[in-house]
Amino acid sequence: MPARITREETAHVARLARLDLTDDELDRYAPQLAGVLDHAAQVAAVDTAATPPTAHPFPLRNVLRADVPVPSLDRQVVLAEAPAVEDGRFRVPRIIGEAP
């Protein structure tokens, strides 16, 4: 089993998950996560060498439908719930830096 999760690893995981956590939150969550992971690590005790993983309780099959147009959500109704819109689209802050 992996070593106990540290505060630094918690901060790293928070960055991966795009959560801007405060120092107080990191101090609080790191030991809580370590406690839960200690418990969860019990799964290592099960011999699963010959056992396939289950991602879903029943076999999934691909679902297809006839290629017939059906009405979709009204754009204005959807955009009315967005935090920011412009020209009929979702508006976001810049993604890449300005050209020099």
Partner: protein, 516 residues
């Protein structure tokens, strides 16, 4: 404890369905003996009277309910049948999308969001003539076992407002227990219908995965989530299940095989049924003595009714909780990545998109959701994936195989629903692992995708409700419901909640302690 009448005993004494049962209300409305508008007004008045103390509802849809009730009354007047749940008030967990009605998941990140569509279960309710009276409180994004993780404040247990109603469907369970609605919808990912039902003294049913559409259920852990009924009797729960179950082309995991109707199975009895009393979900893992006693009495009751009851040990189930707390957070961390401040809900501005995302999520999610996202992201991250996530998926297979072996010998399994009765607000909120252990008896069912139902079965020494659980193999709802109904008829009386609608106390069930 003061004696009370279980719904079925009340039925027997009244010579028909309990006056407040969903079925009796619907029958009366369909026959024109009662007006849907009157039924709805009564329930809205009850919500107005007691929900300030309980906090079951995040939104009360009084205007919509009145409009819908008037439509149903008009249909009846015109000689048309509005459907099997005609005029029945239903409370809907606030993680189910409702067109134009705020759907928050009890999270700041979705505060004020009005979905542009209805969940399939919500549409099915409407088609059956039911009337939505409001959206119920929950642990944020259905993550929790006490409803204390709601961003909008906790729900309180109607039997003792200093205690939690359980969770995450705590608002739905408390609303039904208090008589604010005869029926409610909840969702169950690791016990979120059955555990609060047990703590509030009502019936809660988690259907077979795929029998009820998840379209419009805001996703927590997609391979585990299932919508199901909360009711004050097994027959009412079965009636609601029959309305919401069925294939939905808009949910790719929806089963094409529709389970046989549960309603007709309610009175089938348990003659010759093979019942396995599961040691690991009864005698182990910190189950209270009172709860053990009630489960043992439930086993006796099934035997008296003609079932064969034997103990069965399924040691693999001990690994269900650790596996679940890797799998569910992993799925959650992926599902909740959609809350990025772009398309709906909260946005906190930042220097660029990534900064905006991180600030929005930090401000919008509460502590438990953050913990689960961190856990899940960690379990899926490079270097830990095999040891944690992949191993948990293999353990899931081991648990499914163990259930399959048990169901070679037994038709249904009997277990405790929860290790203990309702705990006090604040008691477990700072100890995530202690809170997670509340779900130790319910989680195995979700990993297997099977159905299970919790039925009230007496109280502990403090008078708090105890729930017992019947588990069945996939699509075994009818036999499960038959066994649950036998337990309901045999159950010791459950007290009327201390905080409840006036109508509940006058329906033949004396109030406890006179506190109202």
């Amino acid at each position: 404890m003061t004696v009370g009448l279980t719904p079925d005993r009340a039925e027997a004494s009244a010579g028909g369905a309990e006056p407040l049962s969903a079925r009796a209300l619907a029958d009366a409305v369909r026959r024109g003996e009662r007006r849907a508008s009157e039924v709805v007004e009564e329930h809205l008045a009850a919500i107005e009277a007691v929900d300030g103390e309980l906090g079951c509802f995040l939104t009360v849809t009084a205007d919509g309910a009145r409009r819908r009730a008037a439509e149903i009354d008009a249909e009846v007047a015109a000689g048309r049948d509005p459907g099997p749940l005609a005029g029945v008030p239903v409370a809907v967990k606030d993680n189910l999308c409702t067109t134009g009605v705020a759907t928050t998941c009890a999270s700041r990140i979705l505060e004020g969001w009005r979905p542009p569509y209805d969940a399939t279960v919500v549409a099915r309710l409407a088609e059956a003539g039911a009337v939505m009276v409001g959206k119920t409180n929950l642990d944020e994004f259905a993550m929790g076992s006490s409803t204390e993780n709601s961003a909008f404040g906790p729900t309180r247990n109607p039997h003792d407002p200093s205690r939690v109603p359980g969770g995450s469907s705590g608002g739905s369970a408390a609303a039904v227990a208090a008589g604010l609605a005869p029926l409610a919808l909840g969702s169950d990912t690791g016990g979120s219908i059955r555990q609060p039902a047990a703590l509030c003294g009502v019936v809660g049913m988690k259907p077979t995965y795929g029998t009820v559409s998840r379209y419009g259920l805001i996703a927590f852990a997609s391979s585990l989530d299932q919508v199901g009924p909360v009711a004050r009797s097994v027959a009412d729960a079965a009636a609601l299940f029959d309305v919401i179950a069925g294939h939905d082309p808009r949910d790719s995991t929806s089963l094409v095989d529709v389970p046989p109707a549960c309603g007709p199975a309610v009175g089938a009895g348990v003659q010759g049924l093979r019942v396995g009393l599961v040691t690991e979900l009864t005698d182990a893992q910190g189950v209270d003595a009172d709860v053990r006693s009630r489960v043992a009495e439930a086993a006796d009751a099934l035997a008296v009714a003609g079932a064969t009851v034997d103990s069965v040990s399924i040691p693999e189930l001990r690994f269900a909780l650790p596996a679940y707390y890797l799998l569910a957070p992993a799925e959650a961390s992926s599902n909740l990545s959609r809350y990025d401040g772009v398309r709906y809900g909260l946005r906190v501005d930042g220097d660029d998109v990534a900064d905006m995302n991180a600030r929005t999520r930090a401000a919008g999610f509460g502590p438990e959701v953050k913990r689960r996202i961190l856990l899940g992201t960690y379990a899926l991250s490079a270097g830990y994936y095999d040891a944690y996530y992949a191993q948990a998926q293999r353990v899931r297979t081991v648990i499914i195989q163990a259930f399959a072996r048990a169901y070679e010998r037994f038709d249904v399994l009997l277990a405790a629903t929860t290790p203990g009765t309702a705990f006090r607000l604040g008691e477990k909120i700072d100890d995530p692992l202690a809170m997670y252990l509340s779900d130790v008896c319910t989680i195995p069912t979700n990993l297997a995708g099977h159905p299970a139902i919790s039925v009230p079965f007496g109280t502990d020494s403090a008078g708090l409700p105890v729930g017992v659980q019947i588990l069945a193999p996939a699509l075994g709802e009818p036999v499960m419901v038959a066994a649950a109904a036998v337990l309901e008829r045999a159950a010791p009386s459950t007290p009327v909640p201390r905080v409840a609608a006036p109508t509940l106390a006058t329906a033949g069930m004396p109030a406890v302690g006179g506190a109202r």
